[in-house]
Symmetry: C2
Subunit: 254 residues, 2 copies
Amino acid sequence: MLQVWALEGIGEVRSGDDLRAIVGDALASSHEAVADGDILVVTSKIVSKAEGRFVIADDREEAITRETVRVVASRTSPSGHTTRIVENRLGIVSAAAGVDASNTPEGTVLLLPDDPDASARALAAALRERFGVRVGVLISDTLGRAWRDGQTDHAIGAGGVHVFEDLRGQVDAQGRPLVVTLPCVADELCAAADLVKGKATGLPVAVVRGRADLVGELDLPGARSIVRTVERDMFRLGADEAYAEGYAAGLAAR
Amino acid sequence: MLQVWALEGIGEVRSGDDLRAIVGDALASSHEAVADGDILVVTSKIVSKAEGRFVIADDREEAITRETVRVVASRTSPSGHTTRIVENRLGIVSAAAGVDASNTPEGTVLLLPDDPDASARALAAALRERFGVRVGVLISDTLGRAWRDGQTDHAIGAGGVHVFEDLRGQVDAQGRPLVVTLPCVADELCAAADLVKGKATGLPVAVVRGRADLVGELDLPGARSIVRTVERDMFRLGADEAYAEGYAAGLAAR
């Protein structure tokens, strides 16, 4: 049985706040005592706020540009709005480079945490010490998908949680190797957590209980290891962008 | 509180089996009585098996070719293995067109259900009638992602479940419209379910309790509505493929 619930009592997080104390106090006052193997899924927004990752920006688009390492694809709608799919400095491909303009003070936007894996590990370490139980921490962000509409939550930081469940080498009932073999459990945990957190309701932390087997040492690989390397990425450019590059090269090859 | 558990007692499903009876009997004998608003997440494999979607194929690659509507991208590794990202007849972009060679009789592979939304609705209708409660049904498949390693479970069929939670029009605490606004809750529910089902353990159905608000009429849009239309798809071709098309066009434009 997997149980997932949102942690009550976390108010507005401000720059410089001690997230370890805030989350720890919310856990301490929860009607459900934290237990060995619990996994906390923390919305990246409150991590960014505590880390003071606000930047002055009247224009979210300008902030996205500054956070962009590489434009993967862009498209302008008939109404004139341009959607940009970009890679940010964490290697994450998304529609807005993690720049968040919701629930931020007027005239500011919020960037992603500087190093979400380090933030997750620090929070996990502090909670393990305070409560004497081995918990894991994931930091989640909301991402779109290449071929599917809508968004789902994904892991951008991980501390003390196995991000993949490695089934390679396991066999099916007929003794043949399983072909699909690397479930990204960190992303699945973040997706499950989003079902109880809600985007507008001020519940930025969820607890997932029931997969203690995924909790481990703090030096486990972080969520950065989920990001596909460019050598393995077949979609490093949008189709239109790659076509245009090819066309120019073809013309120049005369 | 969200609760997710796997349904016990579903054995090997064979061609022609009545999935409504099998899942219904498993629900009836569960220690937990089915309740209004429960969402069942059913692995597509057992739907396909019941529907007899086996085809004779010594070669999974040949079966993938037959199921492919359109090759999106392909890449051959130094060891000679070719990975193909293809669109299947359901519009789903994946690495194997839904062709499954695990846990199938020797010399056969399994195709996806013919019409997963119809299968989900039929199962939901039967369970609603049998138990007198309003349940929803999702049919899940395991899919890779463009820019992230590993796989997560996604919804390919939906009966009586809202596949999106429409937050468009909602505002944040400062009264500004929420920008990220279309959580694909169907995919998040399937991801949550995968955390209790496991791939090799013979637990193909999970029950999710706690989001009864997402359960509705049987004529709600199906999972087909999650698939991005080609007009909105910026990644209709892999980067190498689009580049090659562009290059050829550039050469020809001389």
